[in-house]
């Protein structure tokens, strides 16, 4: 009750940026997905914080967060499946080496 909303938001922003840093700077594809998870969690924190601090009677915030959970799960599953598939094919999970879409 004594924590201003802004603290949560700043926390979520920091978490988000750390996740961003991880996405942009890690070589391993799985590590990139880890960074994405961090970003998604930061989003969730934002959502729940806003839910709590505006109108707890309205469930939109939490529902949104639940949906994000589901989406995140689906995304991780498919992403990891892709990475495994790529790994089997070209025996590498270094993101920089997966450049079939280059010119």
């Amino acid at each position: 009750m004594s924590i201003p909303l802004s603290w949560y938001l700043i926390l979520a922003a920091t978490l988000f940026c750390i996740g961003l840093f991880g996405v942009l700077s890690r070589r391993n594809a799985i590590a990139i997905l880890l960074g994405i998870e961090l970003m998604l969690n930061a989003v969730n924190i934002n959502l729940v914080a806003f839910w709590r601090y505006r109108d707890p009677a309205q469930m939109a915030g939490q529902v949104f967060a639940v949906i994000v959970f589901a989406v995140a799960a689906a995304e991780v599953a498919v992403g990891l499946a892709l990475i495994i598939s790529v790994y089997r094919r070209s025996n590498t999970i270094v993101a920089d080496d997966i450049d079939l879409m280059k010119w």
Partner: protein, 172 residues
């Protein structure tokens, strides 16, 4: 400094620290484990925010399923027992710069907005958040549609992941 604030700060630092370790550690399996700890931190934050259901779901789904999935994936894609080379790209400083800029921008915006300085109101008595959540998820007036679509999404992800990762015809 109330107790709440202290708990919040500790939890926050814990979470951020774990997150930092996730993105900087050189060993991938450690990164996955540090992710688990970061997710724990988030769970506590949910609890502080009185979103108890979400806290539990976070543990079960994120840590129990997703983080485990990560660990499995790391195991399945290891060439040797030791990770090779640096796990960070050579131009990590651009990413750091960008992240810092984004953070600075966001913080600046957050601080600049006076509406964000308010405190949380007490949850009115009689509001059962859990019941409301459940109702909202399945009520046709509320969010049953996204709920169902999400389930379809999960189904398709399941099928897709199974198909993509299946070994059939991929052994070369």
């Amino acid at each position: 400094m109330t107790v709440e604030q202290i708990i919040f700060i500790i939890t926050g630092l814990f979470t951020l620290g774990s997150a930092f370790m996730v993105v900087t550690t050189q060993k991938l399996i450690q990164a996955a484990l540090w992710l688990v700890s970061a997710l724990f931190g988030v769970t506590i934050l949910y609890a502080i925010l009185q979103a108890d259901f979400l806290a539990v779901v976070q543990v079960v789904v994120y840590i129990g399923a997703i983080a485990v999935l990560f660990i499995f994936a790391v195991m399945l894609t290891r060439k040797e027992l030791r990770d090779q080379g640096s796990q960070t790209r050579s131009n990590w400083w651009i990413a750091a710069l960008l992240g810092a800029l984004v953070l600075a921008g966001l913080v600046f915006l957050i601080i600049g907005e006076p509406a964000f300085n308010r405190m949380a109101q007490a949850i009115p008595a009689g509001v059962d958040t859990l019941r409301n959540l459940g109702t909202a998820l399945v009520s046709p007036d509320a969010y049953v549609m996204p709920f169902e679509v999400a389930s379809v999404l999960l189904l398709s992800a399941l099928v897709g992941a199974v198909y993509i990762a299946s070994r059939k015809g991929e052994e070369k």
